[in-house]
């Protein structure tokens, strides 16, 4: 027997994921916050650790060495061809862990949400994170949300932290490069930065370039299986390959010579850079890595990289040389030599 106006006992109105937006109450610690966490985050990220619903996640420890890394993501625009801030936040931290040769195990995610941010956009981001974590097989096991007043944020900022374990016998560090070693990259450079820039309001140009955002731990595992004594791995994100190479040169107290003609750069990326007066060497990547190994291992490592889908455009781009000034130099296509310097100032606003 039904009654007009009858409401089921225990019914509570669910989040309006279509038209709703973030309110200050979603960060106040009350019922609204609990509902947001339960209906959006826990539902999307669902795993046994998160289901414990404690302020911390409890997980078994491993033997051997572990690595930990954290990364904050503040990209504009939030959605771009090939990805969004959610997938970027998962891939960024996984990659930082993978660059130690480690297997990423767990992630934590912190969200700073701006009052008024559409819940539909937040759901898109959270679903994308969940998808990225699931594909990478690295669960998000704990998290936090805070809400800031309208005007105090830029929609959403996401910080992810991850832990991983380093397999026995692997010692990969940016201080290990030695003169004579070869420098490899896993694929085309500058795709992410150009894809994001193309979406900027004041800079919009048409291109089919997509962000390369991807989790690289699978590629790394594949590389280590082929060449366990890789010396250095680094993902050239902000500041591009130029910054990453200079960091390694500093840490290892060596110089480098790279060859412009060997750099894999898509024509469209090159064209966009020419047009905007940018140098692809300084443009961010989110799914590429630099590897350095002893010269006799280089061909073997290159073969292994090219056999993996994320390394099919891999190339040997140069070598480590002795140089107390630690210059990264480049032999240009044109036949001259020049320095590949650190990025000075800011090439463009936030892109990762």
């Amino acid at each position: 027997m039904s009654q007009k106006g009858f409401v089921k006992p225990g019914y509570s109105r669910s989040l309006d994921l279509k038209n709703g937006c973030i309110e200050m109450a979603h960060g106040s610690g009350g019922r609204a916050m609990a509902q947001l966490i339960q209906q959006l985050f826990v539902t999307a990220f669902d795993n046994e650790f998160l289901r414990q619903m404690n302020d911390q996640a409890c997980f078994p420890s491993f033997s051997g060495r572990m690595v930990m890394s954290t990364d904050s993501h503040v990209v504009t625009p939030l959605f771009f061809p090939g990805g969004d801030i959610g997938s970027l936040a998962v891939h960024g931290t996984i990659n930082d862990i993978a660059m130690a040769g480690a297997k990423p195990c767990y992630l934590a995610a912190g969200f700073i949400l701006e009052e008024g941010f559409p819940l539909s956009d937040l759901k898109r981001i959270v679903d994308s994170m969940a998808q990225a974590a699931r594909t990478a097989q690295v669960p998000i096991i704990t998290g936090d949300t805070k809400v800031v007043e309208r005007g105090s944020g830029d929609g959403v900022f996401i910080t992810t932290t991850g832990v991983g374990m380093v397999p026995e016998g692997i010692h990969i560090s940016a201080e290990n490069a030695r003169p004579g070693d070869k420098i490899l990259v896993s694929g085309t450079l500058g795709d992410h930065g150009v894809a994001v820039m193309a979406q900027r309001e004041n800079l919009s140009f048409e291109t089919s370039i997509e962000s390369d955002t991807a989790a690289l731990h699978g590629l790394v595992a594949h590389m280590i299986a082929a060449t366990p004594n890789i010396r250095v791995l680094r993902d050239p994100t902000r500041g591009g390959i130029a910054a990453a190479l200079n960091e390694i040169a500093q840490q290892s107290s060596v110089g480098m010579m790279i060859y412009e003609s060997n750099l894999p750069i898509q024509e469209q990326v090159q064209a966009a850079c020419e047009f905007l007066g940018l140098d692809p060497l300084y443009i961010a990547n989110e799914g590429k890595l630099i590897a350095i190994c002893a010269a006799p291992d280089a061909d073997n490592l290159l073969r292994a990289m090219r056999a993996h889908p994320l390394g099919k455009n891999a190339a040997i781009i140069g070598e480590i040389i002795e140089d107390s000034y630690r210059f990264v130099q480049m032999q240009t296509c044109f036949g001259g030599a020049r320095v590949v310097d650190w990025l000075s100032g800011e090439q463009l606003p936030r892109i990762c």
């Binding site: 004041n202 020419e274 296509c333 044109f334 030599a337 020049r338 320095v339 310097d341 000075s344």
Partner: protein, 382 residues
């Protein structure tokens, strides 16, 4: 990208390099000034020095628009930006130029001034339309290349009857700067700057044409070769200059025929003539006061002239004493001759304007070429 690659082909570069080596007279030196920062950048970025014989030397000229603007005008722009309710729109390169007291537009922005980086004058116009209750000032700088777009923005502002848009005009003229260098005592009397010829501007010449250079070639007996900004353009122009000198000619030749016409872009020139007129004199960093070397907004567009709308006082602020930007802009010194190059003055903390823009001589040398002076301990990292 095929189009660009053709102008950067390594094998062709080697061929021209071999011709240059073969045709230079080993008993003499060749000193050429590339006026434009765009050429300076190409020379450094592609390592062109490695492809030239030791007796061919390139002297970097003053053609970097942000480098030649005197500190006083940058200070004026900062003051404008700090005026309540003003939005200052500027090209990105200007933002980091140091003014007095360690201030720059970028630092003024961090302190709360509303400064917007724009890619074109029309972006500034759009910002004015979107912010009808704010005064929007476009900080207009540059040589003949950026002048026509500023003229268009002013004409459009008049058509739209915009009451909140004005231009702080700092447009300067290439031919007057070249004359000034050629007439300077450093070149004429003291021989401090041996100058055998010029690589003429690329984009500037698209607007003004090749005719304005005839005067230098004739009056000063210096060959001029107008060249594009691609490295092969530069190499070819150097070869053409060497050939002129070897045969005793001093002519204007055009290597950049794919875009530069003798009379230039008549439409653009008409636009500029409608909106601007010559200033009696204008201060340049490095060159000092140069007569008839800059433009101001004509009286019938005075409503859009920031110098009419706001109180902008003439400021004459001296460069930092240790900074050699002035001498470097005149071609008297090289970046590595400056005591603070690479130590106190770096792209992160520029003391002089030449260290800021990618087209600045010091920035280009720091970014691309400083490994050549390895023995200079000042350039060692850390």
């Amino acid at each position: 990208m095929k189009y660009i690659d053709e102008f950067r082909a390594g094998d062709l570069a080697q061929q021209i390099s071999a011709k240059i080596a073969c045709e230079t007279n080993p008993r003499r030196h060749y000193h050429f000034m590339e006026f434009c920062g765009g050429h300076t950048h190409a020379i450094s970025r592609f390592g062109i020095a490695d492809l030239l014989p030791a007796n061919v030397r390139m002297i970097h000229g003053p053609g970097c628009p942000v480098c030649v603007l005197p500190i006083g005008r940058v200070q004026n722009a900062i003051q404008l930006a700090q005026t309540p309710d003003v939005i200052l729109c500027s090209y990105g390169d200007m933002l980091r130029i140091p003014a007095s007291n360690g201030m720059s537009l970028l630092k003024a922005k961090a302190h709360g001034a509303d400064i917007r980086m724009v890619y074109s004058s029309t972006d500034a116009l759009k910002i004015a339309q979107e912010n009808p209750h704010r005064q929007v000032v476009f900080f207009a700088i540059g040589f003949e290349t950026t002048t026509p777009p500023t003229a268009v923005a002013i004409q459009q502002a008049k058509t739209l009857d915009l009451k909140n848009f004005s231009v702080f005009c700092n447009h300067v003229l290439t031919p007057s700067a070249i004359s000034h260098i050629l007439q300077s005592p450093e070149v004429r009397e003291f021989g401090l700057v041996p100058l055998d010829g010029f690589i003429g501007p690329a984009h500037v010449s698209v607007v003004i044409g090749s005719q304005p250079y005839e005067y230098f070639a004739e009056e000063f007996q210096k060959p001029v070769v107008i060249a594009g900004f691609e490295p092969l353009d530069v190499m070819q122009a150097i070869l053409m200059l060497i050939r002129q000198i070897n045969t005793g000619r001093a002519e204007v030749e055009n290597e950049f025929t794919r875009t530069v016409l003798p009379a230039g872009n008549i439409k653009a020139q008409a636009l500029v003539a409608d909106v601007f007129e010559l200033r009696r004199t204008f201060e340049w960093r490095g060159l000092g006061w140069v007569p008839y070397s800059a433009l101001k907004i004509k009286s019938h567009y005075a409503d859009f002239d920031a110098e009419q709308r706001f109180v902008i006082s003439a400021l004459s602020i001296a460069d930092n004493k240790a900074c050699e930007c002035g001498a470097i802009l005149r071609g008297v010194k090289r970046p590595q001759d400056c005591k603070i190059f690479g130590t106190v003055c770096t792209p992160e903390n520029p003391v002089g304007s030449c260290m800021v823009s990618a087209e600045g001589t010091c920035a280009a040398h720091y970014r691309y070429g400083r490994f050549r002076e390895r023995n200079n301990v000042a350039i060692k990292e850390n």
